[in-house]
């Protein structure tokens, strides 16, 4: 049975010439798990919001949307609120109340449901989601993953038939994201909820999907099961880079037959290929000429409260000039704290930091932040004060007496020309990040510290970020980045360090580092481990395989 039918819908935002949705036709069957993907700005969020009447954007619409044969426009308000649930990107913003139990009850309270019924439904959902342990907690005390699960649960309490999710895991760490996606899978399998999900993490999501929709410039480019995704996508389409590693390798090696989606399928497919590369080793990429150590941490120990436990202890690190170092590690272990210690924002109670062989303490904060280092905050919004992108850059230029020519150069480097008159808040996540970075880099710091810069970015924006970082590196900047993003770290950094239990437990150049790890490694390595000893990216696998074939 069709649950939603979209009939020739087009949509244009006010004051825009080109429609963002162009003649969309779509029928969604009850119980389907649909993944909606596309590059940022392709209109996928706009389309998703059209399924939920209360959230429809302002603008001109043509065409009709039907929910179970009723015109969505004329649907009873109560049915519209309960039957269709919507989960947003930011876990924090959608929580309304201060207690977990109150948040769960919020929707039913709004609909005027009596307490005994609310009690039962809340209990049921708290059980399904395993929320009992933190049922009485304050919502501000929850982790990001718990917050997003709470958001999902507080919608499920209303017993929706259709769930819409707009990048729900983009702000979560990989483990919490996986848990969230598995919960969605359970909802779909055990309760038969129809799900439409916008997601960047295709590695985990695609194997679960019944159907994939790829959007491109306002229309639907592909509509079908994930296994057929390659058949109808142009070989050089931008979405190819976002596909799971197994699929990407299959595609790049021109594989034939059923498409592998998961690691296991990828391993199976690769082992059945005529490639026998076990004897082949890529030479170790020669480490860069050893320039001087620019930043050094010796025996650092840090805690937030006098009686608290050490967040960082026995922490030692040496960073060389012009190096790109990534620090990876679990969630909430203190990686961000390390960055704020290295940048001088937090003071360790033990140990010393040396910047260009001089104690960090001996620099005045003006000297330090104007000539030596800068740190990109996790949320770029903490930097934005002005109405437009251009004013934002000028503001920074004024503060530090930067020349007009330098602004122009930065605008070129970051490719911001077409955005100069936009409001910073109207930019996409990737663009906001770029602007924040551009702003900080106007003063040409020697060391750049980044706190999870790939969080919430799609594959394309990540590539853009990597290009900029590489460019800065060749110009002499040293980059230290804290991240969850193993793939990014493997592909672009010069050295990786694993942060665990307060200190760096291992560090090496990425190839040695990731081929030595069993679990903490890239998808490409997990796929190819049996036949290739040290391939860590999809490109590695492809180069190695092609070599043996010739």
């Amino acid at each position: 049975m069709a649950i939603v039918k979209i009939d020739n819908v087009s949509f244009t935002y006010p004051n825009e010439a080109i429609p963002i949705l162009k003649n969309i036709n779509l029928t969604i069957q009850q119980g389907e798990f649909i993944v909606l993907i596309g590059q940022s700005g392709c209109g996928k969020s706009t389309l998703l919001r059209h399924f939920k009447r209360e959230l429809r954007p302002h603008g001109t619409v043509t065409g009709n949307i039907f929910y179970k044969d009723y015109d969505l426009e004329k649907l009873n308000a109560e049915v519209a609120a309960t039957d269709i649930g919507y989960v947003f990107q930011n876990p924090d913003n959608q929580i309304v109340t201060d207690k977990v139990w109150h948040e769960l009850a919020f929707g039913l309270e709004s609909l005027g449901v009596d307490s005994p019924i609310i009690r039962r439904k809340v209990a049921e959902m708290a059980n399904f989601f395993g929320i009992e342990k933190w049922f009485h907690q304050k919502t501000t005390e929850l982790s990001g993953g718990q917050k997003q699960l709470l958001n999902l649960a507080s919608i499920m309490v209303m017993q929706p038939k259709l769930l819409l999710l707009d990048e729900p895991t983009s702000q979560l760490d990989p483990i919490a994201a996986l848990e969230f996606i598995q919960t969605l899978h359970r909802l779909n399998k055990e309760l038969g909820i129809t799900i439409i999900l916008i997601e960047h993490r295709l590695e985990e999501v695609l194997p679960l999907a019944d159907r994939v929709l790829i959007m491109d410039e306002g229309s639907i480019l592909f509509d079908g099961p994930p296994k057929e995704i390659l058949n109808s996508l142009p070989a050089d389409h931008a979405m190819i880079t976002a596909l799971p590693a197994a699929t990407k390798i299959f595609h790049l090696l021109n594989g034939i037959g059923p498409i592998p989606l998961t690691i296991r399928e990828g391993q199976r497919w690769l082992s059945n290929q005529p490639y026998n590369c076990s004897s082949l080793h890529t030479p170790h990429t020669t480490t860069q000429n050893k320039s001087d150590v620019v930043l050094e941490a010796k025996d650092i120990a840090f805690r937030y409260e006098k009686k608290g436990r050490d967040i960082v202890h026995h922490f030692n690190l040496q960073v060389k000039g012009q190096e790109f170092l990534t620090i990876i590690g679990g969630n909430g272990t203190g990686k961000s704290t390390v960055l704020s210690i290295l940048s001088g924002l937090q003071k360790p109670y033990h140990g010393k930091i040396f910047l260009f062989s001089k104690a960090l303490k001996s620099y005045s904060s003006k000297q330090l932040y104007q000539q030596y280092l800068t740190i990109l905050p996790q949320n770029p919004k903490s930097l934005f004060v002005q109405k437009t992108v251009l004013l934002e850059l000028n503001d920074m230029a004024q503060l530090h007496k930067v020349t007009e020519a330098k602004i122009q150069e930065t605008v070129q480097l970051f490719n911001l020309t077409h955005l100069l008159n936009r409001h910073p808040y109207d930019l996409s996540g990737g663009e906001q990040q770029k602007l924040a970075l551009a702003k900080l880099l106007l003063i040409e710091p020697k060391i750049l510290l980044l706190d999870e810069p790939t969080k919430g970015l799609d594959a394309h924006s990540k590539e853009g970020l990597a290009e900029i970082l590489k460019d800065l590196q060749t110009k002499g900047t040293t980059i230290i980045m804290v991240t969850h993003d193993i793939e990014f770290s493997a592909q672009y950094s010069d050295r990786c360090a694993l942060f665990f239990d307060g200190s760096i437990v291992s560090e090496d150049e990425p190839r040695a580092f990731y081929s030595g790890n069993n679990f903490y490694t890239t998808a490409a390595h997990r796929i190819s481990r049996d036949i290739l000893s040290n391939a860590i990216t999809c490109e590695d696998v492809v180069t190695l395989c092609k070599k043996t074939f010739v």
């Binding site: 109560e78 201060d98 005027g112």
Partner: protein, 293 residues
């Protein structure tokens, strides 16, 4: 194990209203003694370590208030000495001590109130009066810690780009502070759009809201509530017939020890020791349960 805390919010709230209300009007030495002792014992039972820390505040406060009164009030017949031609009297000193006792006792009651009446209980009670008000309270309580968190992020980010509000000239500091607040407000408003969407998406405004709570009114709640109300009124009667009245000026009145007065004193003791009794009873019961397990 906090036994009294598990009672229904309405019981807790009525207890504190009755107790704090009566503590505020009774200046009779017997009543004051009862008040301060029950307030201290409940505080020790509930807050332990914290209570002993607070003494650093209460003791000086107590003496300060006890000293101020004889300095400004020169009534009374039992003159101790003259300072600058003004009489310092025993009545004024004791009246000062009485006021100080009362104020410290009320502060102690409020610290117990803070332990027992958590925000969700308070919100629940007001939800009964006005669901809109209780939702507003709940939203505000969620926003305060969020703003604090965002503020630290902004302050750090601005420090790195040279807008450190803790250094520089006064003008620079003001400029930085305004800038930080402006970012905080813009950011908060942007977040609020999402929150509003999330409320709308969950049917906010579709119907008249009900107020759900996790609190259940049990029989024991009814029993204790009735007891509190009864004792409260008996104390009001005591106050009405003059048992609780006591004069410090022109000189001390007499404390009555007749049967009626003693009965009224006892009713005050019972009212004030309700939570303490449940605390002790709960602890004992828990111990005996543990030993039979």
């Amino acid at each position: 194990m906090k036994a009294f805390e598990t009672f229904h919010p309405i019981v807790l709230f009525s207890f504190f209203v009755a107790t704090i209300g009566l503590s505020m009007i009774f200046m009779h030495p017997v009543y004051l003694t009862i008040t301060i002792f029950s307030a201290i014992s409940l505080n020790i039972a509930l807050r332990r370590q914290l209570f002993f820390k607070d003494w650093k505040l209460y003791v000086p406060l107590f003496f300060l208030m006890a000293i101020i009164n004889p300095m400004i009030s020169h009534n009374g017949q039992l003159v101790l000495l003259y300072v600058n031609g003004n009489a310092i009297t025993v009545e004024a000193i004791l009246y000062g001590i009485a006021i100080a006792t009362m104020i410290v006792a009320i502060m102690l009651w409020f610290s117990c109130y803070n332990v027992m009446m958590t925000s969700d209980k308070f919100i629940y009670l007001f939800g009964k009066v006005s669901p809109a008000l209780s939702l507003t309270l709940s939203i505000s309580l969620r926003l305060v810690p969020r703003f604090k968190h965002q503020l630290t992020q902004i302050v750090q980010a601005q420090k790195v780009i040279g807008m450190d509000f803790t250094t520089g000239s006064l003008w620079h500091r003001i400029k930085c502070t305004v800038r930080i607040l402006s970012i905080l407000i813009t950011w908060a408003l942007d977040n609020a759009i999402d929150t509003a969407d999330s409320m709308k998406a969950r049917g906010y405004g579709v119907k008249k809201r009900t107020a759900f709570s996790i609190f259940i009114f049990e029989r024991r709640d009814g029993f204790v509530l009735a007891m509190i109300i009864l004792l409260f009124f008996s104390n009001l009667v005591a106050s009405f017939i003059g048992t609780t009245t006591y004069y410090f000026y022109p000189t001390f009145g007499a404390v009555k020890w007749d049967m009626t007065s003693i009965l009224f004193y006892i009713s005050y003791v019972i009212l004030l020791s309700i939570p303490l009794v449940f605390e002790i009873w709960g602890a004992l019961k828990w111990r005996s349960l543990k030993s039979t397990m």
